[in-house]
């Protein structure tokens, strides 16, 4: 069984982003980029399934402009076998379009499992995996925190409101990762060297026959309404007094 892992190149989660003053978007020039943290978890899970003999090949795929191959290379350094890069002009490709591109690749590659992140930490959409599942008419388990594969079935524990839910999915299926599924490995130096020789196939939306023109029009992007630091209180008594008499919340 092949496993396909879509990985997105995003602003590193440690970076405090800046909104452009003209409202046209977020400053991305010369900003540290990294693989979306949920996608690292997805790569790790795919590698563990391969190591456990449940999968034969792990393929990392990414949709994006120049330098996107660096993110695919990171997946290869973690241990993925090969990469596919869908080259685009723009970094902001909407989830619906990404899902259509991924569907075309799934049709070509025939994986038994696609593991995506539950959400990209730049657009915070939380859509792509579910959309891909719909387009393929495959079952899905979002927010996975434990995955077990036996034969043609994936048993998945999911993080839901109020607790945990267990689903059984008939393969092929779509999973999206939650934070506690696993702890991703770091790429070792030898593996980083080895990854340089692993193949990355390049394709485009046109090759795959997918229209990726955006559907939503972004009118503006602004800073959120700021919140300023309040006061430091010196004692519990002062705190309780302020909560009661100033803020009126107790």
């Amino acid at each position: 069984m092949k496993i396909l892992v879509p990985v997105k190149r995003v602003v590193d989660y440690n970076v405090k982003i800046r909104v452009k003053p003209d409202g046209s978007g977020v400053e991305l020039a010369n900003i540290k980029m990294a693989m979306n943290p949920f996608d690292e978890i997805a790569v790790e899970e795919a590698l563990r399934l391969k190591e456990a003999g449940k999968a034969t090949e792990v393929i990392a795929v990414s949709v994006g402009p120049a330098k996107t191959e660096e993110t695919i290379r990171t997946a290869l350094a973690m241990g993925a076998d090969r990469g596919i890069w869908v080259k685009t002009e723009d970094a902001a490709v909407e989830p619906l379009a990404v899902a259509k591109l991924l569907k075309a690749i799934v049709v070509q590659e025939g994986p038994g499992l696609v593991i995506l992140g539950k959400q990209a930490i730049d657009d915070d959409c939380n859509q792509t995996g579910q959309m891909l599942a719909a387009l393929l008419a495959w079952p899905q388990a979002t927010f996975a925190s434990k995955v077990t594969i036996e034969g043609e079935t994936a048993t998945v524990i999911r993080e839901i409101d109020g607790g945990l839910q267990t689903l059984a999915l008939a393969l092929p299926a779509i999973l999206t990762t939650d934070l506690r599924l696993n702890e991703p490995r770091y790429a070792s130096l030898p593996n980083i060297m080895k990854a340089k020789k692993k193949p990355i196939a390049e394709t485009t939306a046109a090759d795959l026959g997918v229209d990726i023109a955006p559907r939503l029009e972004v009118l503006k992007t602004v800073e959120p309404g700021g919140r300023s630091a309040g006061v430091k209180v010196a004692s519990v008594a002062e705190l309780v007094d302020k909560l009661k008499n100033e803020a009126g919340v107790i």
């Binding site: 792509t128 959120p224 006061v231 209180v233 919340v249």
Partner: protein, 315 residues
């Protein structure tokens, strides 16, 4: 045309986030039908019918919809979609899983986590963990999930008609195995007026129980946690507040031993009043706190609990 709002419920009860999502749905300006999809869900449908501003409740009741698995519910949503201009749902685990499936099948790009309705076709939504707010315009049919923390709940006192509709669409492949839902006497995080959250500093599940919970008890609060506390096993996963956990905006949010990473702030910085207790006076949480107390939480919190208990018993 009209708006279809999917209700969040557990068949027996309507979840209060539904009333908040209704306020967003009504802001689109068209009559709102509330869809209650479930198995033995009439009680939830009756509660939905009492919400003010609802034109009609659509009850789709079938065994296939128990637990609201994404595949059958999305197939139903696609069948219903033709009659509505906008499909709306609260951003809960259920609807985050279902709505994008419907959107893809009707070839619409979803707008996730709407925080404001600017016009019937224009919405605000946070990106980058709430560090930027995007205004987007959607043409044609709309599919929206609503971040309910920012909307007031619609009132009660309505009496909308309940219409039963047939199940539609088939979907195979996923089967429900089991569920572990914590039974809690406390208010639910997303509906709570007061939240007390603990961070890594708590050090153990026992300390959550003996330090955080008594304070929550005197305040009648829900309990939340940082990711670090959840990862370490001090608190269950669905207590996590933040970019990738619950987004909350209570009247009072008390952060105990939480540093204030941007991913945590993303989930609570719209709270009305924020209190932080942290022994590091440079902790970023103080930059958003209305009232900061620098100190050891193990000393401060029991004192605070006792003080508040005193104030409450005097009033």
């Amino acid at each position: 045309m009209a708006t279809l709002l999917f209700a969040e419920h557990d068949d027996a009860h309507l979840n209060p986030v539904t009333a908040r999502a209704l306020t967003a749905a009504l802001a689109l300006g068209a009559p709102v039908t509330v869809a209650v999809v479930g198995a033995n869900a009439r009680p939830a449908a009756e509660a939905a019918a009492r919400l003010e501003g609802v034109a009609e409740v659509l009850l789709i009741d079938a065994p296939a919809y128990a637990h609201r698995l994404a595949e059958p519910v999305a197939a139903l949503g696609v069948a219903l979609a033709a009659d509505y201009d906008a499909l709306v749902a609260p951003s809960t685990a259920v609807w985050k899983s279902v709505l994008p499936r419907i959107a893809a099948l009707i070839d619409v790009m979803q707008v996730s986590d709407v925080t404001a309705v600017v016009a019937p076709d224009t919405f605000e939504r946070p990106i980058y963990a709430g560090n930027a707010i995007q205004t987007v315009r959607a043409s044609g049919k709309k599919v929206l999930t609503i971040r309910t923390a920012g909307f007031a709940a619609a009132g009660e006192g309505g009496a909308a008609p309940i219409r039963e509709a047939a199940a539609a669409g088939e979907a195979k492949g996923a089967t429900f195995v089991s569920e572990e839902i914590a039974q809690m006497a406390r208010p639910e995080l997303t509906a709570a007026r007061v939240i007390v959250s603990g961070g890594r500093a708590l050090g153990s599940a026992e300390n959550f129980h003996s330090v955080v919970e008594p304070l929550a008890d005197v305040l009648g609060a829900a309990v939340g946690a940082s990711r670090a506390a959840v990862d370490a096993g001090y608190a269950p996963n669905d207590w996590q507040v933040g970019q990738t956990g619950k987004v909350v905006a209570p009247e009072l949010y008390v952060a105990l031993g939480i540093s204030g990473a941007i991913q945590h702030l993303a989930g609570m910085k719209d709270s009305k009043v924020i209190v932080a207790v942290n022994k590091d006076e440079e902790a970023p949480i103080f930059q958003v706190a209305d009232y900061g107390l620098v100190g050891d939480l193990f000393q401060v919190v029991p004192e605070l609990t006792a003080e508040i208990a005193k104030v409450k018993s005097n009033s």
